[in-house]
Symmetry: C2
Subunit: 360 residues, 2 copies
Amino acid sequence: MKRVYNFAAGPSTLPLPVLEQAAAEMCDYRGTGMSVMEMSHRSKVYQDIIDEAEACLRELMGIPENYKVLFLQGGASLQFDMVPMNLLGAEHDLAYYIVSGSFAKKAAAEAKRFGNVIIPASSQEYKFSFIPETTPEMFKTLADYVHITSNNTIYGTRYAKLPETGGIPIVSDMSSCILSEQIDVSDYGLIYAGAQKNIGPAGLTIVIVREDLIGRKEDIPPMLDYKVYAENGSMYNTPPTYGIYLAGLVFKNLKENGGVAAMEERNKKKAALLYDYLDQSRLFKGCARKDSRSLMNVTFVTGNEELDKKFCAEAAEQGIVNIKGHRSVGGMRASIYNAMSMEGVQALADFMEKFEKENQ
Amino acid sequence: MKRVYNFAAGPSTLPLPVLEQAAAEMCDYRGTGMSVMEMSHRSKVYQDIIDEAEACLRELMGIPENYKVLFLQGGASLQFDMVPMNLLGAEHDLAYYIVSGSFAKKAAAEAKRFGNVIIPASSQEYKFSFIPETTPEMFKTLADYVHITSNNTIYGTRYAKLPETGGIPIVSDMSSCILSEQIDVSDYGLIYAGAQKNIGPAGLTIVIVREDLIGRKEDIPPMLDYKVYAENGSMYNTPPTYGIYLAGLVFKNLKENGGVAAMEERNKKKAALLYDYLDQSRLFKGCARKDSRSLMNVTFVTGNEELDKKFCAEAAEQGIVNIKGHRSVGGMRASIYNAMSMEGVQALADFMEKFEKENQ
C-alpha cells in the first residue's frame, strides 16, 4: 500500500487507522453480517453508531446541554441558505456578515435572499489577506446574528479572537477548523461545518445550535428546518449513514489521541514549522497577514509563477501532493488539517528548504 | 466474515463484490496513495470517477442526450421541495400529484408550499394497497407536471403502466425501483431517486432531468437549483464524493451482470417466487392488490400479530433479517432490491414454508 502526504484543501487526508478500520468492517460490521452502508437507519445497531458519534463530539468540544448536534447534508453551501431561513427575521430582520473570504461573501449574498444584511467589515479589497477588524460599535443595531467564517480556507486566515457583538449570537462557518483548536461553544449561537476537512467524508454537515435559536420561524420545508432535525434525532429521512459512521471513527481516533487540547498543540507546532520557515526564507513568502494566519491552511508564493509550478511538480514527485494554491490566490497552499501528521509537514518543510537551495 | 440475508427497505443490501472492492481500495485507490474519500473533488482522478459513474448510468438506463444526470444530496425528501421549486409555476402554476403511498402524500404536501396542486387520484382510503387508477380526462387542465411514485416502498405497490397525461411531463420518484426494470427515460420529464436502495449509500440522490425543464424559474438558492448542478457538473460545491464512487461501482457491477434487462428478469423471478408462494399459502397473505404488486417490496401478513412477530424472530435466527413490515402496514416486508440474490429469496421462501408447516 502506498500513502502520500496529501495537502488537499478538502476533501482531505483522514487518519489512516480510521480508514483501515472502515476497510476491515466494510463487509461485516462487528458480526452483524452487513456493512454499515447496508443498515437500516432505524435499527438498534445504527442508532448506537449515531448516538456514539454525537456523544464523542459533545465530549471533544465540550458542547453544553442546551445545544443540539444535528447531522445534515448539503455542505456549508446549503447552510448559507439554511442559516438565514431559520434565523434571519426571527426577531430583528437583520444579520451582520463579516466578509473575510470568498465563502463568507457567498454566505452574505445568500442571506440577502431572506432579509436585511449589513456587512460591517470586509477585507475583500485586500484580496482577503487578513481578518477584517471589528469594533463593538459596528453591532449597535440589534440583529438576529453575526456571521463569521472562523477559518478561511482559500487565503489561509483565521480569527485570532472573536468579534465583540454585545450579545448578538455569533454564527460561525467552521468547515475548515472545527476540532482543530479548543473553543468555547457557548460563545456561539450556531456552528456549522462540512465534514470533508476535519471530520470525515464529504456529504455530511454538522450543525451545533443553541436550543433557543431553533424553531423561531414558521413554514420552512422540513429538510431545511433545524427544528425537524432536532425533533427527529437527525432522522426525519435517511441521514448520510456511512458518513456519520466515519465521523464517529474520526472522533474516537481524536479522543484516543488526546482530544482537542492535544490536537491544538500539534496543530500549532505543525503551522509554526511552516510559518517559521517562511519568515526566514528568501524564496518563499507567506500570503496571509501575520496576525490572521490560519493553523489549517498555509498559503505561500515564490513571486514567480513558473517557479511555483515547478515547486508543485517536484513536490508531487516526492509524494507531497495537492499543494497548488487556489486560483484566486495562486502559489501554494498546504492544508494541514488534523489528520496531517507532523512527519508530513516536516517532509514539506524539508522539501521547501531543498528547493530553495536549488533555486536561489 | 459473516453475511446475512438483509431484507431491509433501505438502506439495504449491496453487492458483496462492490463492498469488497471498496474495502480493498479504501486506503490507496489504485496507486494514488489516498482513499477516494480523501481526494479533492477537483482532481483529475476524481473527475474520472464521477464521469465514469455517469457514463455507466447513462448506458444502463439508455438516458437520451437531452437529459442531464445530476448528483445531489438530501434524499427524495429534499426533492419533494426541489421539484416544485424548480418546476411548479414555470408555465401553468399547476401540478398533479397521484397519491399512491405515504411518500407520494408527503411530496404532494410539500408541493403545496410552492403552487397549486391537484390530486386526481388517491388510494389513501384503501391504505395505499394499490396504485389508484387514472384516466386521460383527469389531466385536461394544462399543468407543469404530473408527479408519481413509481414504486411504493411501504405498501409494496408498483405502477404496471404509466398514467396517460396527454403530454404533461411525468415526474417520478424512483427511489425504490430505479435500475430494477427497463424503462424508457423519454417517457419522463424528471426522475429522482435516493441512492440507498438500488444505487449505493444513503446521502446521494440522483436526478435525471430533461434539459428543457431546467432553468425555468428564477431566484432559487443555488443548492436547490437544478440549473446550478447542471452547469457545474454537480460540483457547485463538494458533492458526496464517496457515495458517487460507490454508486459507480454498483453501476459497473450491474453492467457486468447483464445490465438492466438481465436484472429485470432476475427481479421478476425473485418476486414471482414469493408471490407464487403467497398465493397458495394458507397462513400468509400478500397485502398489495395483485395488479399493483411491487417487484422490490413484497408485503405479507399472517393475520395474527403474535405470529408475525414470531416469524420475524425465527427468521432472524436463520440469518434472514429486517423482514418486519412498516408500522403502518404491519406484518412482514421483504425488500428484494437488485442486490438481493435469488439464494436469499429462496432461503426466505423455504423458511416461510417451514414456518407454515410448523404453525398450522
